[in-house]
Symmetry: C2
Subunit: 144 residues, 2 copies
Amino acid sequence: MKLLDISEVSQQSGIAASALRHYEEKGLITSLGRRGLKRLFGPEVLDQLSLITLGKTAGFSLYEIKAMFGSDGRPYISRETLKKKAEDLDRQVERLAGLRDMIRHVADCSAPSHMECPKFRKLLRVGGKRKPVGAKKRKNIGQL
Amino acid sequence: MKLLDISEVSQQSGIAASALRHYEEKGLITSLGRRGLKRLFGPEVLDQLSLITLGKTAGFSLYEIKAMFGSDGRPYISRETLKKKAEDLDRQVERLAGLRDMIRHVADCSAPSHMECPKFRKLLRVGGKRKPVGAKKRKNIGQL
DNA sequence: CTACAAATTCAAGTCGACTTGAGGTCAAGG
DNA sequence: CCTTGACCTCAAGTCGACTTGAATTTGTAG
């Protein structure tokens, strides 16, 4: 089993070595050992990194990503919570598709201000839900 | 035309007054005037705020959002660039859908480590592209 | 054996998006 | 007329995710 040093991992993943150390510090990845001072990673770390990158682009924090796909390969959170995350993503996908349509429309529409364009406003109505007045503080990222 | 003071806007949008001031400072929204010191907003600000919120959940910076939907209603960037953003969103939608499938799978699969599950790894392969070695610094957010 | 490039640690810095706090202002009600 | 409470400004602080820099510590090549 071929071990990779940090520069190889960095090369192949496109992630800076400093970020890799940061991820290890935060417990998202693990190095299998050291040669001297130098970390050695197993090749599976590349898959984990794909997952981390993916999670980040979806807007999850490193903390959440760790909770969803523990570096040992087991989630730290319940199936319930995972399903909730999946549903969040369903909504997120819809919102993004809506925004994409709006942007595409803005790019094509000749109305002087898109806010005056009825088509645009219709898209807004679909995509941009307003909060129903009782706004909550988001502060329940869960304990680990 | 009914004007709203900042607390009404905050209430109806679910966005903190401090954030509204911040958005105004950054030029994402505009207050129509003042009564004494107090800002007065036109009702259209609520639509703009929906758009801002939507853009944020899509991962755009305030700066980018401003460029895409100027507070005056006209984008600061070319149709070309807008179309590129729409295409980025197309990819983002796909990635998110992929991640959602993975999470859903993790929630249901009984494999001890999802990395050992062939189904999961297949999903990973689809969703989690690795960068093709020549990693670039992302630093071209464009000038305004 | 020595020099050197590549890693390492640890502290401090950066960036975006706000929030918080101190001290000031003003329109409206009593 | 005077008090209040909502809003104001401006500076500083916070949080997450890294990056940067200075001072080491090797494994390997010459």
